[in-house]
Symmetry: C2
Subunit: 501 residues, 2 copies
């Protein structure tokens, strides 16, 4: 039935159903689950928990690697089963519950969750649910399409439930590289010196006494839904490719650049796709999520190898990749997210980080999370881990959203995820603002000239000029007007034609 | 005359006066200088440059480790000799010039400047001025009371002027630990695993062909002016000591805690002083600036050793410490600031970071730099390097400033240096808000209850309650009112009795 996937045979007696597993949870427990951007998540047990909560109310804290697939977050929110959620989510129902204040949400740097847990700066985990494709002879588990925080959860949780997923081919074994820095005060350096350094083991050790259940599943990951490049995202990609070409011409970079990181979303995907038809060669990737475009780049020979924490691809790509995974195995590495997103590795390797902004302001501060300063979109994810420590921190966004009712460049961002110090380059379909070596007032003029949509350019220039003339300072602002574009959006449905003082 | 301090004797012929050195600079040059929080800075040449600029106008870019002493920044600003200044300053005249827009200022994470330079993300340095107490036989230099960015400046500058300072005793030799990670794409890990790991050499190598002048000086560092603890700062220190005691009692920390970092300013000093009369023992420090209180702690036996990038002390302490520096030498290490402030070391060692805020908001975002969102105070310094990567990130501030006309806790900070993700604990003299494991709305209530001055508590509660009820979201805000406290300060001279809607 489970295809010889429990190699430590005495564990077979722990096989239970998802419904039985769901009964192991109690009100107020702290629950951890595998899963990173919809890959390698708990598919059976969390859903069964949502079902149970409907008839037998309980509320737990749920932490994961990053987002879950399967509509699980929505189901849990609808069942009112969560008091606290961290560190990331992308579910529309969950989002609504968070923004209503019904579910508390801790939006966290993805590289940090494991550190907080290991530092005892967060309550202890009662039960961890970990997806695996195999339980090895020594009782360790081979993860599936993501590593996420699973290694830390396994080490720190009091009890563990394994979701043994038979749909994931065993050829995936060997793609994972599990490493831990150990505990304070004797933590070790992370000995990664190249994007493809292998530093750990291929499985996650688990104390067998902790295992309280093994649930067999066959469900596959929710496929990624990636919008195809359009005129705007292609323009952004072209600006970036042009920039990299100029940096190579100047001798600042070679044709293989430095290891790339790209965030989620259609813009990041378009940028990576842009590399396929470029002159760059022998590229490498040290990122979080390996998407469709990553595999296109591997196939084209442009990309030598890719390191991440999950493989999150569309259904077609999934089928193709896992039909013959050996083809990719020595060019792909999946790491724990405190390693894929580790400040030390990002700084050491000199990552070129490309992440998406919801809005940027004239001084280069970036909001990636809170719509109009209040409403959570997804979360900061790993963007801060990369932006802060990268060789080059690039943020991309279209210049306008919702038609052109919203300008994605605003006088002052309504929430700051990435402060001006952590933003080197901003790109919209209008152009690329290279902010390196510029002071704030200089940054403002370049951003206005290069990135702002024409519809908003005059008003923005007027704001900046008046702020300089009337208020001055390092970052001139007219505080009572700084959010007037946002309040106008709220009151009139558009940022356009804000009445200026 | 220079007391056998030029051991590579053929360099003696390069001795010139400060005035001669000042003539080596040209308009538009990029100039780098040693100096970190007033210690080990260029004392003769930069001043001579300011003098020269008065009669023979020129404008240069000036980068340093951190702040300069001697009134140098003010003199340069008054002489209109600077176009761009980075990465930090504390001078009142310079501050004014920056805020008028007369001098451009790049406010930078102190750990990052060397990385940007090494990554070619900033124009090349034409001339570096480096204070040293000795030129060794091999032509390398022994720095004085700070290391700052001197090692990177020496490696990257086209030309070097050495300021040989005879006032610094040669017994300081051996306190410096110079290490470089090398260049992309083959950078190495920083092999520090304990606060007192010694990993490099005791001197800074310089290609002798680069040296264009040696200027002899006798000027001592500007002394630190540290305000004595008062009722408010003592209360803050006591809240923190109480917190650490509770963490030890819970078993989260031992009596030697984890390595401490403390920012500049009277609050940080009071906190460190508070440890002298505590039960903690075998403390260690991995910080930037070693202040009076550091040496008190070393003397008391509470502190085993201290690592930093500068020794910045008052005149009495300076005289005492350097009268018998051998007493401290094996317990003090001065490192390049890209090592003292390296994300990887801060994360690995598990630093307890204590920095000062100008203002915090109800969700825990911190402004350390921009008064009312516009006017630069000093700069972010190393606070971000530490806050982001520490084991515990603590921000301290008095609850009010300027009498009680300003509440240092505001609905929304007018500038974000440290986003909520990077702030674990906020302490005012009113109390300590432990924000670990809390979602934003929970953080807000704790901050209002524990940290806000009673004079402002009711208004703050009203703002938060109305923001939740009327607007909702992950971080409820009423955008058109979020800065009303600041605009009221501007219009009426006080944040008090803001007219609420
Ligand atoms: C910022 C982020 C939401 C953008 O996602 P995307 O899919 O690339 O971008 P889109 O342009 O489709 O924008 C998403 C939505 O936000 C809306 N939007 C964009 N800018 C907006 C703004 N300034 N104000 C309000 N809404 C805005 C879009 O209209 C769209 O709405 P819709 O879903 O109703 O159509 C996404 O990249 C993200 O969550 N980033 C943070 C996490 C992260 O960076 N992780 C990196 C490593 S994984
Ligand atoms: C934030 C910082 C300015 C506080 O300095 P400090 O000496 O501890 O604090 P003080 O309470 O004396 O405040 C300094 C001034 O700011 C004023 N101030 C404090 N809070 C204020 C607020 N919210 N709005 C306006 N002014 C404020 C004080 O009144 C005081 O003014 P004065 O000089 O006219 O008397 C200082 O710590 C700093 O520059 N930090 C950033 C760099 C850093 O953290 N480095 C860390 C590693 S070195």
């Amino acid at each position: 039935m489970y295809e010889n996937r429990i190699r430590k045979t005495e564990l077979e007696q722990l096989i239970i159903t998802a419904e039985e597993a769901a009964m192991l949870f109690k009100d107020k427990m702290v629950v951890a689950s595998s899963g990173f951007t919809k890959a390698g998540d708990s598919k059976a047990v969390l859903m069964a928990l949502a079902e149970r909560a409907k008839i037998d109310p309980l509320k737990v804290t749920l932490m994961t690697g990053a987002s879950l697939g399967q509509g699980t977050d929505g189901a849990l929110a609808e069942a009112d089963a969560l008091s606290l959620r961290l560190p990331f989510q992308v579910d529309p129902i969950m989002r609504k519950a968070i923004n209503k204040g019904e579910v508390f949400f801790i939006d966290q740097h993805l590289g940090e969750t494991a550190n907080l847990l290991r530092a005892n700066n967060f309550p202890k985990i009662d039960i961890a649910i970990l997806e695996a494709c195999l339980i090895a002879e020594d009782g360790s588990i081979i993860p599936t399409t993501s590593v996420g925080n699973s290694a830390s959860f396994a080490a720190l949780a009091e009890k563990v439930i394994i979701e043994l997923n038979l749909s994931v081919p065993l050829s995936i074994r060997g793609v994972h590289d599990i490493f831990s820095t150990g505990e304070y005060p004797t933590r070790r350096a992370i000995p990664i010196t190249k994007a493809n350094s292998v530093i750990g083991t291929d499985s996650i050790a688990i104390n067998p006494d902790k295992i309280v259940g093994i649930v067999i599943t066959q469900k596959t990951d929710s496929p990624a839904e990636i919008e195809a490049p359009d005129a705007a995202t292609t323009a952004i990609a072209n600006h970036l490719i042009g920039f990299f070409n100029r940096e190579v011409a100047k001798g600042n970079l070679t044709k293989s650049l430095l290891p790339l990181q790209a965030g989620i979303g259609k813009v990041a995907n378009a940028v990576l796709t842009g590399f396929t038809h470029s002159d760059f060669e022998d590229l490498t990737m040290y990122s979080e999520v390996l998407q469709d475009s990553t595999f296109d780049l591997l196939d084209s020979g442009k990309l030598l190898f890719a390191s991440g924490s999950s493989i999150t691809v569309s259904q077609d790509y999934y089928d193709r990749i896992f039909a013959d995974f050996d083809k990719y195995k020595d060019r792909v590495i999946l790491r724990p997210q405190d390693i894929s997103n580790a400040a030390e590795v990002i700084r050491r390797l000199g990552i070129i980080a490309i992440n998406t902004a919801l809005e940027c302001d004239i001084y280069g501060n970036v909001n990636s999370t809170h719509v109009s300063g209040t409403h959570m979109m997804n979360g900061i994810g790993g963007s801060g881990d990369f932006a802060r420590n990268s060789y080059l921190s690039i943020f991309v966004t279209t210049s306008v959203a919702k038609g052109d009712k919203i300008s994605c460049i605003v006088p002052m961002v309504s929430h700051v995820d990435h402060c001006e110090h952590d933003v080197d380059i901003i790109v919209t379909e209008r152009g690329l603002a290279d902010l390196r070596g510029l002071a704030p007032r200089q940054r403002a003029q370049v951003i206005i000239d290069k990135c702002v949509h024409p519809e908003y350019q005059e008003e923005m220039q007027s704001y900046f000029d008046r702020a300089c003339a009337e208020r001055g300072g390092q970052t001139p602002h007219i505080l009572e007007e700084a959010f007037s574009w946002h309040t106008s959006l709220r009151e009139t449905g558009s940022m356009k034609k804000t009445v200026m003082v």
